[in-house]
């Protein structure tokens, strides 16, 4: 089951377009969009605010914040949340379990007409996991842009907003360059200074995974894209072992507090 999320900032707006159909064409008209948000250590589940046509649900900027997540489900499926006392995000149905992945369009835009989007999803399999993000800053950071922003979106199964750390590391010199506390179950915004957009500088998170989203801005133009986790670059059987070894080496930099 896939989930969808947005971005809320001072200078960027966001729309989400969720299809009613799978990418192979199958439609389930009973599905509607629900939203989940944490309140008093419980997931509050309710029908989302959206417009719709026969093919899509449209969630506009007014109904998006950095905490709400959206998903497709039937009214009767939502009743399962009561049985868990709203303590877990639930894998309610298989409608969005498709290959290629079921995606919604996540578009950001500014008041000048600049816009950028990507086909977005947050799979349930990621929601259940803890771990680390490792990603190069210069792959999508743009040193010629006037501004670069990084958004780390985490969705975790429990209704908790727990602090965890994001680091920018020079992995060649084995040095920590930057550290910031961010939150689970949140779209976290981090400004990337140009001095960090260099070939050897990577972002790394402790304890929780998520999707790194990069936004570059210049002359009202916008570029918006996410990076892949490292194991997606290795197809052979050694992928998890190789990535785990690499992350252990990077974790050593953190443990040694090597600034």
């Amino acid at each position: 089951m896939n989930f969808f999320f947005g971005i809320k900032t001072n200078d960027l707006n966001c729309d989400i377009t969720i299809p009613r159909f799978q990418n192979h064409g199958k439609v389930d008209l009973e599905n509607i969009v629900f939203q989940a948000k944490i309140n008093l250590n419980k997931w509050i589940i309710q029908k989302a605010q959206y417009k719709e046509n026969k093919n899509f649900f449209f969630i506009n900027n007014n109904y998006i914040d950095n905490e709400i997540i959206f998903f497709l489900a039937k009214e009767k499926e939502i009743l399962k949340y009561k049985k868990t006392d709203y303590q877990n995000i639930l894998d309610l149905n298989k409608f969005t379990d498709t290959q290629p992945a079921f995606r919604a369009n996540l578009k950001i835009f500014n008041k000048f007409g600049g816009f950028s989007s990507y086909q977005s999803e947050y799979p349930y399999s990621m929601i259940e996991k803890q771990g680390n993000i490792l990603s190069p800053l210069s792959s999508l950071g743009n040193s010629t842009a006037s501004e670069n922003k990084l958004f780390i979106r985490n969705i975790y199964v429990k209704p908790i907003k727990k602090k965890f750390d994001i680091y920018f590391l020079d992995i060649k010199k084995k040095k920590i360059l930057f550290k910031k506390e961010i939150l689970t179950n949140t779209t976290n915004e981090i400004k990337i200074e140009k001095k960090y957009i260099k070939p050897d500088i990577f972002l790394y998170t402790n304890d929780y995974i998520g999707i790194p989203l990069f936004v570059s801005l210049k002359d009202h133009h916008i570029s918006f894209e996410h990076t892949h986790p490292p194991h997606e670059y290795i197809i052979s059987e050694d992928k998890f072992k190789t990535v785990a070894q690499l992350k252990r080496e990077i974790h050593d930099i953190i443990n040694k507090k090597n600034w």
């Binding site: 990418n23 064409g25 290959q99 792959s139 010629t144 260099k198 133009h221 197809i235 190789t242």
Partner: protein, 258 residues
């Protein structure tokens, strides 16, 4: 009975039948690979209509396996699959970038595909298969490039007397045009929409975009104007045919994969 059918479907013959019929085909067939390889996407480049293409990639062998003195080969094809340039980059950093503009391509203002292959993979003492998904940015009129990651695994390299040759066997086709891919976005309030398709298979592909028929020979690419469509439904004989989407509004563009 069902488990027996599933078992048959996983045999070499079963996979072949699934592929030819288009019934539950394997999207990326990597079963035939039995040695270390560098697999590439078919990345798209544009230098037409004042476009420049930015390409960013990580030195995967250095990053994951600490291999030194690495290099990559980039091979560029035009939209008719004619090779127009080979370019080796040595002395790699962990993260690298090149700009593909008409000067880089010897004055060519056109579009097509290119592939990236990592050298020295054979020096690693175990079987590894890497796929560099990379990031491609498209800039129009020298404005900020709109970046997206790689679209689909397409080809792997094999050495042939030190010449790099392209081989394509990962994505297959079926006999019938029974593969449906419906882009999960609504196309409205845009000035122009273009779909950039390349044929990722080793066979000629046939496809319909909302009932408009197209065909592409292997390795060929095409940019199709889809401005008049608010939804896009692709029916083809290719098991994985997903275009890049170029959306235009005023002087802004947005590029992403469908």
């Amino acid at each position: 009975m069902i488990s027996l059918i599933k078992k048959i479907g996983r045999t070499a013959l079963g996979i072949k039948i699934r592929s030819l019929s288009g019934f539950k085909p394997i999207l990326f067939n990597l079963n035939f690979i039995n040695k270390s390889l560098s697999v590439s996407d078919a990345f798209c480049w544009r230098t037409d209509n004042n476009f420049k293409t930015f390409f960013k990639f990580t030195d995967l062998l250095k990053f994951f396996y600490n291999t030194q003195d690495t290099a990559v080969d980039l091979i560029f094809y035009n939209y008719k699959n004619i090779k127009i340039k080979e370019y080796r980059i040595s002395n790699l950093k962990l993260s690298n970038e090149i700009i593909i503009d008409k000067e880089f391509l010897g004055g060519i203002e056109d579009y097509g595909t290119f592939y990236i292959y990592h050298n020295k993979i054979e020096e690693i003492k175990k079987k590894i298969i890497i796929s560099n998904r990379c990031y491609v940015g498209f800039s129009k009129n020298d404005q900020l490039p709109s970046f997206l990651h790689g679209n689909t695994l397409v080809s792997y390299v094999k050495n042939n007397e030190n010449n790099v040759v392209k081989d394509k066997m990962i994505i297959n086709t079926s006999i019938f045009m029974n593969q449906i891919y419906r882009i999960q976005n609504y196309f409205h309030k845009l000035d122009k929409v273009e779909l950039f398709f390349c044929n990722p298979s080793s066979s000629k592909i046939k496809f319909k975009i909302n009932n408009i028929f197209q065909s592409l020979n292997t390795g060929h690419s095409i940019i199709i104007n889809a401005t008049n469509f608010d939804h896009i439904n692709i029916r083809s004989n290719c098991h994985f045919l997903r275009p890049l989407i170029f959306s235009y509004k005023k002087n802004f563009i947005d590029v992403y994969h469908g």
